[in-house]
């Protein structure tokens, strides 16, 4: 006897549970494809009820359902949801197969037949508690059990569970897509008017093989429910840990809680399946700047329930301040068998951040995070333009020095000296220069040299005018006009 735990629209559910909470009744769909090929992917029940289906364009989908929630695929979320599903499956039996996306098969041999329904329904409930809507089926073969689980979901059977007793009766009413025909096979079957597995199996195997080849015969076999087979056993993970990266740094620590709690739910399931409990938690927060923040959270008592673990994390994060946004985190559970030690009343809840991180964070706080890094020249007409990049690693080659500049060496005034200029009325050339440090009539002037750029973004736009002047009293200077003000930028040697 086999059981199957099946999560319909798995990728969509995984993406939804990884994001902000969403009401279950809200229509939602996954986004598939890139660029102009984007279209709706998996749709939830509410979306399908609104007339949406996979392959539909966004514009048409939004026309039919303005409240539609669109989510991109979330591979990390899917990996986490898969782990949750496997953990739930392991609570039924140690012989578990990761059969397909959103589908786990469990070999129930050796388990108490009387308790199978209850255990399966408990697993479905446990998954529901982690926001994964799953269904379970039990049957003579893995495939039949999978059919039963899907059927239970589509027909909202009580407890989300169906044990197959009358195989032929069930197959007769199951849609033909349960047997997973290829698109080409599905098109042929639709042409023949074959809509159910019963109708498909009513065709002769030979006739189908002649038309659809060996794959047709395999389809026919699948339509009959397949045969019992040994499972490819899933090995439970060694250790209990979770990790995640955030594309955009998380600014406020409470915002970390929902994703952490999601993973804690899975860890709790895994602990339960392994018959263990959590004695403590190792939390690592990877920050945008500097090394990670690490903390060991001691629990008052070992537990395999999610709630105490979540509360411990919440308490820790509420009191914590980091100098930089969190880029990612890791959580490791210290698994124990029983209460192994007495609660330590003297342990502190918080530890100091790493000294270097703190120092770097303080620097960043003083000058601004955008001003911390190594200057690198940029490709622009703007003189002296540079951008900051992270310092190179010890073994990395230092960036090449910028190309040599032809001309006289210029000793710069930092900052440039504010200046007042007068210009010759006819030629428009500088005639006199005044600064706090020197002034005098201009004996000769070259220029102006005009440069401007980044006009497409007002905050970055720049424009400058330069003159090279020789003062009558001596001295060769570069004048700079910027934002309607004049400066002496430097003196030529």
């Amino acid at each position: 006897m086999f059981a199957v735990l099946h999560v319909e629209a798995f990728a969509l559910q995984a993406a939804l549970r990884a994001g902000p909470p969403v009401a279950g009744t809200r229509p939602a769909s996954l986004i598939t494809g890139l660029g102009r090929q984007t279209a709706l992917g998996e749709c939830n029940r509410a979306a399908r009820a609104a007339g949406l289906s996979a392959g539909m364009s966004f514009a048409q989908a939004l026309a039919r359902c303005p409240t539609l929630l669109l989510r991109p695929p979330d591979p990390a979320g899917e990996a986490e949801a898969r782990a949750v599903l496997l953990a739930a499956a392991l609570t039924l039996s140690p012989a578990v197969e990761d059969t397909a996306t959103g589908c786990c098969t469990i070999d129930l041999r050796g388990t108490d037949p009387a308790g199978r329904r209850g255990a399966a329904e408990a697993a479905v409930r446990a998954l529901a508690a982690t926001d994964l809507e799953a269904n379970a089926g039990a049957a003579r073969t893995p495939r039949l059990a999978a059919y039963a689980a899907r059927w239970a979901g589509q027909n909202a059977l009580p407890g989300g569970f169906l044990a197959v007793e009358e195989e032929a009766a069930l197959l007769a009413k199951l849609p033909v897509d349960y047997a997973e025909p290829t698109p080409a096979q599905a098109a042929r079957l639709a042409g023949w008017g074959i809509h159910t597995l019963g109708e498909l199996t009513a065709l002769t195997a030979a006739g189908l093989t002649r038309r659809l080849g060996r794959e047709g015969r395999e389809l026919w076999d699948r339509a009959r429910g397949g045969e019992p087979r040994p499972l490819r056993r899933h090995e439970p993970p060694v250790g209990f840990h979770a990790t995640a990266d955030h594309e955009a740094g998380v600014e406020t620590l409470p915002a970390l809680l929902p994703p952490l709690e999601r993973h804690v739910e899975r860890l709790a399931l895994e602990l339960q399946a392994a018959g263990l409990a959590a004695g403590g938690l190792e939390l690592e927060l990877r920050l945008e700047d500097g090394p990670a923040h690490r903390a060991h959270l001691r629990l008052p008592a070992p537990t395999a329930s999610a709630a105490p673990l979540q509360r411990a994390l919440e308490t820790h994060l509420t009191g914590l301040r980091t100098a930089a946004p969190v880029r990612g985190w890791s959580l490791r559970v210290e698994a124990v068998r029983a209460p192994v030690r007495q609660q330590d009343f003297l342990s502190g809840g918080l530890r100091d951040p790493h000294a270097f991180t703190e120092t770097l964070a303080q620097v960043a706080a003083l000058v601004g995070a955008e001003r911390v890094g190594t200057p690198v020249p940029t490709d622009t007409h703007r003189p002296d333009a540079a951008a900051l990049s992270p310092p190179p690693g010890l073994l990395e080659e230092a960036p090449a020095a910028p190309g040599g500049v032809i001309g006289l060496p210029l000793r710069r005034f930092r900052p440039p000296l504010p200046a007042r200029l007068t210009f010759a009325p006819t030629s428009g050339r500088p005639a006199h220069v005044w600064t706090e440090r020197f002034s005098g009539p201009v004996a000769e002037a070259r220029g102006p040299w005009c440069a401007s750029g980044d006009w497409w973004e007002p905050a970055r736009a720049w424009a400058r005018v330069e003159w090279d002047v020789a003062l009558a009293g001596g001295g060769l200077y570069r004048l700079l006009g910027e934002r309607e003000a004049w400066f002496v930028e430097g003196e030529y040697d």
Binding site: T38, F58, G193, A202, D379, C450, A451, G453, W455
Partner: protein, 1071 residues
Amino acid sequence: MAAYCELHSRSAFSFLRGASTPEALVAEAARRNLPALAVLDRDNLCAAPRVYGAAREAGLRARVGAEVTLADGSVLPLLVANRTGYRNLCRLISEAKLTPRPADVTVEPAAAATGAPDQEDSVNPGAPKRPCLATWEELARHAEGLVALTGDAEGPVRRAWRRDGPVAAAATLTRLEAIYGQDHLHVELQRERRRGEDRELAGLRDLATARGLPILATGGVDYATPEGRPVADVFTCLRHHTTLDAAGRRLAPNAERRLRDGAAMAARFADLPGAVEAAGRLEARLDFTLRDLGYRFPDFPVAPGETMPGLLRIRTYAGARERYGEPGPRVRAQLDRELALIERLGFCGYFLIVWDLCRHARAEGILVQGRGSAANSAVCYVLGITAVDPIRHGLLFERFLSEGRVGHDGHPSWPDIDLDLPSGEPRERLIRKVYADHAPRGAAMTANFITYRGRGAMRELGKVLGFGEDLLDRFSALQSPGDFPDPLELRQRLALAGLPPDHPRGAALASLLGQLRGLPRHLGQHSGGMVVCGGRLDEVVPLEPATMPGRVIVQWDKTSCEDLGIVKIDLLGLGMMAVLQETFARCAERGDPIALHTLPPDDAPTYAAMQRADTIGVFQIESRAQMATLPRLRPACLYDVAMQVAIVRPGPIVGQLTHPLIRRRNGLEPVTYLDPSVDDIARPILARTLGVILFQEQMLELAMRLAGLAGGEAEELRRAMGFTQDPARLRRALGRLGEALRAQGRNEAVARRLGEAALSFAAYGFPESHALSFALLAYASTWLKVHRPAQFTASLLNHQPMGFYGPATLVQDARRHGLRILPVCVAFSRWECTAEAANAVRIGLRHVRGLREEAARALERERERAPFASLADCLRRIPLHANERRALAATGAFHALGSHRRAALWQVEAAWSADEPLLRDGEEEPDTPDALRPMTPGERLAADFAGLGLTGGAHPLARLRERLPDVWRAADLPLGRDGETVRIAGPVICRQRPGTAKGFLFLSLEDETGIANAVVHPDLFAARRLVITQEPALRITGRLEQRAGVIHVRAEQIEPLTLPELPAQTAHSFR
């Protein structure tokens, strides 16, 4: 001292380089009091006519020249000194463009221009798709009459300087000197205000001094004003397939490549005053403008002892006898008058060439009909060029040809003859004949300038500005379709697409979009305009290869050709001409020969069909807007149809003229003629249109009579109305019209009404003769629909897509008219749809999606050899692909061979292939399994739409009607009360949002009884835009409006009609 002139500027026709229109450059040059301007576009003279026209208006001299790309990647600016030079420049560009050469340009032009030596060796990513790569040998052969400048940073001398130093630059200069001589070579100096540029300038100056060559200061202009710099930067990015953020030093360092006046240039080159003065001196030596083009229309070959006028007279009278029998005195007088004028103007060759073309077409069995103002000519009519008798309809020959039709610059305004031909292969054959008759370089197609607009401009700009594809996709999806400007501001639409309102680049995007709109993007081929020339066309205008193999185009569009007096013959493909030709052939096959000119005129049932707007599928008067007007105008003669054709045009509607004409026809409004003060002049001109200015000829005649415009001035007004690329030209022409009217003592009301009418006609002006030619086609197609419905419908279905309605709608309309639509069948269907009886149309195999014509033809041949005995027999004898077998089976085409669709689908899936031993052994399939039930009617309908795109059976809604109890059928709407709330539903077959409808949208829903039309208010459209544009079927609730037999539903609520059994239909949306 000669005043400074700008002799090196580029317009936007230097594609992806110049950022200003020719008109903008000229306007700025005039504003800066430059006496002359030379626009030297990259490898083309596209802008030359526009520069010439604008300069003439602005009172400055337009000098001609171009930058020519050499095979080594350098770019040489050439100025035309005289007519020989012009011929040489045209031939040089043509030869370089038409001679296939590998694009071995290795210099990255933009990088070189900005002086970034580290990028000079990179491969040029901006190499033009159709490179013009001239060799030094070609330069030498075409040097006479041209003045060369050494160019800017891309020029051969400075390029050699930068790559290999002063010695190499000197060697290159020697090479140029050897070709052009000291008199015709100038060392060009430009100052861009870049640090370091003076060293190179000093080197060039020294080089020139050493050789005794003159130096010349130019601006190297890329845009008229500094505001053009961002566009130039965007073009740089597009050329290099990069973004503004990544372009770095490939962008211009500043905005200095703009036009300057003489004083500014003198100040800039204060150290080299001779360089500035040289510009004026050189310009004074240039003695060529496009006034001296030297174009000549080709002669028609005549036999020895024969003359062209003599031959034309003989052919005219021979034709007259065919058209009229022995022509009477009135006809003779008219023909003689026309022939005399044609001979006096030297147009005999032109008429004979067009006559010969039409004669050739008929000999080839190609239906041909002239349209345009040629329909005013009795000579054209009797020569068989046009089909409307101008004498019978009282058309004025002077509107076609008169001695006064000369442009401002003295270029003659040649008569315009457009030929309508069946679209497709027949038209191609005729084009090939024109090429062959004038080979090798005497004929070419006119160009069509593709401009930046709408979504394309947005997409390119978005990429350059670094916006993501997803945002651009969303923006495109949200862009409001149709002609009418989007009700939402650009920034609002960007916000809807997900761009924050305060996005730092939003302002740049919006501004650039406005600047980019309308600038030329690349050169295309006009749909049918051909230019022919006596002698070599490539000495009149440069030629270049079109994208279509074997095609050559001139570098000017039709407006430019017309402005410069170059004759164009439009060979236009019309789907309806193909339909008529086939219908006539089908009738002839059935012993019922009819032709366009033998159709009975003034047929009452035909006009009755028009009056009740029963015009689906007919020419011109089938659109929703036409059908909404037909019951009000109630055409009863051909001239009425011409008015009907002309009335539903953007021009007249903008001019608020539709309603007065209809009201006047129906006696609801008194007939007046513009203004009582000019009644005596306007009445004869406007009598036939009841005082309404409907046709362009009326507009021009009024302008001449009321404002005293001379022929040339009226001609300029006509051209200005047709030239949409330069609104300023129209404004100037209207200004002159107003002044002339006032000078003639006309009151303000007259001036205002005439001005409004002229404005409304701009770009949409519809000549009366043109309307009559179209009216004839509309009449003919309606006549055939009424009297030969089967042949007409079959032909119509054979030339899809065309017209306003899809095949499914045409078939349903035919059914409502009592035609039987016979299903597609391997035993009876041909590739084409056929009329099997006077009231039966057999769907052709061409409508079976995925079926090759080759396979269908094989099926026809095999069937004629021996009928198919069974499905197996058919499959054995016809080499069909698997998908073709399935398509035929799914659409019921094998039904005649005894199999229902599912059984056929089952059988064709067996391994029926030629090398299948089972088949050769004659093994047949056992009986079809019981599991395969025949398709239900609903399933057959779905299969029909999936496989054919139509159904010959009842409309899909007929089957679903009981599920729509509260929905009115289209045919029942006339029973409703005006103002009553009704609900209509069905597949959308038309969505229209014409530019003249003030943002209103028109929707047409089809059901089993006909078509129901709905009008959607702009607010409702804005609110339900996605539903309206995306849903294939709608349910609309609103108030019924009945006016003069025209019924609309004024939509108040619009919802999707989501019935899974309702197949999606193709719709005519926003076209």
